[in-house]
């Protein structure tokens, strides 16, 4: 099985726009950046601007209850909420998920809140660092919690990488389903923000605004829903210049697959220096609509490509037209993806 045989039966999202895919969709369609606020730094006052867009507090109906979630951090709570929404959207009862469900998780930074807290304790006095926190720092803790919450005891795995490594996860989901490792696959990409990651982004560019959230897609070989028609890439690069030179090739290969009216969901941040190569690459044809979730929601790192895919799925459902998703990445490889009705 190839990723092109996969259909997206359900989607869910948590983002700076709220705790649903619909809230995100609405915000991105409005096209205006959501309000940001200075990201607080514990202990002292930062000597340069650093803005963030955190996810709002969870509405009561989105607070999942489970023993494993008592200590879990934001990334797990976002993931569980997005997963439940995706299952419901696919017509499943979240209380009894489908048999043979696999879970693939994608992240870049991972459990930064507990990692920072635990390491702070280690630096202060390792003999008194909390043994309860350490397991929550492990990259695959959120996937484990989601699996436990849903009762999924089959294939559960976590991938690390740039946000666009979700394309490798899509491909992996396809071969899991094709080879019987899983019957259906919940693909989740999530990230939580802390002051360290918000500052880290400002080293890339002072105007980058850190955000957080989760996107979830319920993937299946059948059952209806938008299809992953094509994944282009990886087009690997070893420098920013090489990346910029590759993007026209990525766009050309992708556009050869798309006829007629279509929507583009790009990676645009609103910062010209970071965006110009991508915008130029995709300008070869007119688009019915161009959506830029990162510009509206902020840079949610590992979650950002999933949020693009969730948005793309909703756009296909709404327009019944192809959607092209541009995933140029920033430090390893570029991808794109075509979704069709």
């Amino acid at each position: 099985m190839n990723a092109r045989d996969i259909c997206i039966r359900g989607v869910g999202a948590v983002s700076s726009a709220g705790w649903s895919a619909a809230a995100k969709h609405e915000a991105v369609l409005a096209g205006e950046p959501l309000p940001s606020r200075p990201c607080a730094r514990p202990g002292n006052v930062r000597k340069w601007p650093c803005e963030s867009r955190f996810a709002p507090a969870a509405p009561p109906e989105k607070v999942a209850r489970h023993p494993r979630l008592r200590r879990s951090s934001a990334i797990t709570r976002y993931s569980v909420a997005a997963a439940l929404e995706a299952l419901t959207d696919a017509g499943h009862d979240p209380a009894s998920p489908p048999a043979g469900l696999g879970i693939l998780f994608v992240m870049m930074n991972g459990c930064v809140n507990y990692t920072g807290r635990f390491y702070d304790e280690v630096l202060q006095n390792p003999a008194q660092a909390s043994p309860l926190i350490f397991p929550e720092t492990v990259f695959n803790a959120p996937a484990s919690h989601v699996a436990s919450f849903l009762g999924v005891d089959g294939a559960v795995s976590t991938l690390l990488g740039s946000p666009n490594s979700i394309m490798e996860a899509l491909d992996t989901a396809a071969f899991w389903i094709g080879s019987g490792i899983a019957q259906e696959c919940l693909l989740i990409a999530a990230e939580e923000c802390d002051w360290l990651s918000a500052e880290g982004l400002t080293y890339y560019h002072p105007k980058l605004i850190a955000s957080e959230g989760a996107g979830a897609l319920l993937l299946s070989a059948s059952g209806g829903g938008p299809r992953v028609r094509e994944i282009i890439g990886p087009l690997g690069y070893l420098s920013w210049q090489e990346r910029c030179e590759l993007l026209p090739q990525l766009a050309a290969q992708t556009l050869a697959q798309v006829q007629g009216p279509a929507t583009l969901i790009n990676d645009r941040t609103g910062i010209h220096k970071l965006d110009q190569a991508e915008i130029a690459a995709w300008s070869a044809r007119p688009w019915d609509a161009v959506l830029s979730p990162k510009y509206v929601l902020g840079e949610s790192m590992g979650a950002s490509s999933a949020l693009q895919l969730v948005l793309g799925t909703l756009a296909v459902r709404q327009t019944q037209q192809p959607v092209v998703i541009s995933l140029p990445g920033s430090n390893t490889a570029a991808y794109s993806c075509v979704l069709t009705p």
Binding site: P126, P135, V138, G151, V152, E168, F175, G178, G200, T332
Partner: protein, 407 residues
């Protein structure tokens, strides 16, 4: 249960870096000598910790990253160095100088480049102003950025998949690679795992009281009191039999993964997920438990793990259990976390090639849960199949079955 797979997956190259040594030969000699490799940790401060020793790799002094600019060298993590060494050995063994013709790289890691993240954290905490080199620290903390340093060495621009399933990462990476070939998605994949010692991780296991206070792990000993950490890397080049271009050292004939939902860090006492992975991996390989000539156990030396794994092996093997040789090579080199599954898979390959069994060292009195043939010193043997178990935080279980191949 899956039917036996007809797709043969050859292992044509393997590389290993462990506290026992760098390279196949050094590790084979150390295992044959029942040598242990624990020494005081000097990479970070352990004075306030219970454990103070680990299996530490001695990295060579020369510059391994020939294409990396000098000002970036210090941002390449120890684990990445080990991984590059293992990759170079695997490629050399397969008669290759580069990565041409390889469809993908799949690597497992638990901590990634954690020391870079630690350094970023410490600099950020220390100074509220913008700190030089923080961009490089933030970038190189990311495992994919570390992997791109390796990619640059080989001018590689293909897919790199980084699996992070805690201590089962390396085994899952090899298993995924095998499944990619079995499903026809790829013909030739480089797969393995790595992890280097990191202060946060070391302190984490210490706070859990999971580390042996004496620094000596005693897997399957009745009085075992914890594991020792280690570091290392291992890589295998897997090729579909029909495209194999060099002699096969062995085959990956079975793989399975499952999730233990019992607890975030503790295994189900009956080892139910392990029973499933061993059963399914053997079904895919088309072998019965009695045909398994060696099990390299997860065998951490913690009270919970070993008794659960022993119970799982007994339940899975049934009447055959007493005849199955089992050892934990973590007793000699420590627990290599994300590298463990890959290193232990390569040790299984070495055992199949050399027809020997590595030992579980440091055992004084065998735990009563042990019903298998615990290998307590290196011995010669005749075996065609070896099985290796890896279990990780989060409940990820993975089993690989490797098969002997004559050259």
């Amino acid at each position: 249960m899956p039917p036996p797979s007809s797709q043969r997956i050859a292992i044509t190259g393997a590389g290993i870096v462990s506290p026992l040594g760098s390279g196949w030969q050094a590790n084979e000699q150390s295992l044959a000598a029942d040598r242990t490799a624990f020494k005081p940790v000097e990479l970070f401060d352990t004075r306030e910790l219970i454990a103070k020793t680990a299996g530490v790799v001695d990295l060579p002094a020369e510059n391994l990253f020939r294409r990396c600019p000098p000002h970036k060298q210090s941002f390449i993590d120890r684990g990445t160095h080990m991984l590059l060494m293992a990759i170079r050995e695997a490629l050399a063994q397969a008669g290759r100088s580069g990565l041409e013709g390889i469809d993908a790289i799949v690597v497992g890691t638990s901590a990634g480049a954690m020391p870079l993240g630690e350094s970023y954290f410490e600099h950020a905490h220390h100074d509220a102003a913008r700190v030089p080199a923080q961009l490089s620290r933030a970038e190189h903390y990311q495992p994919q950025r570390q992997m791109s340093s390796i990619a640059a060495e080989f001018d590689w621009r293909g897919p790199i998949i980084i699996v992070s399933n805690a201590c089962a990462s390396g085994a899952n990476a090899i298993g995924w690679a095998a499944e990619m070939i079995r499903s026809g998605r790829a013909k030739r994949v480089l797969a393995g795992g790595y992890d280097a010692l990191a202060r946060l991780v070391f302190a984490g296991f210490d706070t859990l009281h999971a580390l042996a206070p004496s620094g000596i792990p005693r897997p399957f000993d009745a009085q075992r009191d914890g594991l020792a950490l280690g570091e290392g890397a291992a890589v295998m080049l897997l090729e579909a039999e029909e495209v194999r271009q060099s002699a096969a050292l062995g085959e990956v004939s079975g793989y399975s993964t499952a999730t233990d939902l019992h607890h975030l860090t503790q295994p189900d006492p009956a080892g139910k997920a392990a029973i499933r992975t061993m059963t399914t991996a053997c079904a895919q390989a088309g072998v019965s438990p009695a045909q398994i000539g060696y099990i390299n156990s997860h065998g951490t030396g913690t009270p919970f793990n070993d008794v659960a794994e022993a119970a799982a092996i007994a339940a899975w093997a049934g009447e055959a259990v007493a005849g199955i040789p089992v050892s934990s090579t973590k007793s000699s080199m420590g627990h290599l976390l994300g590298g463990a599954g890959a290193v232990e898979a390569v040790i299984c390959l070495m055992a199949l090639q050399g027809q020997w069994l590595p030992a579980s060292l440091n055992v004084r009195e065998v735990d009563p849960a042990v019903r298998f043939d615990l290998v307590r010193q290196f011995r010669r043997a005749s075996l065609d199949y070896a099985l290796t178990n890896s279990f990780g935080f989060g409940g990820t279980n993975a089993t690989l079955v490797l098969q002997r191949r004559s050259a």
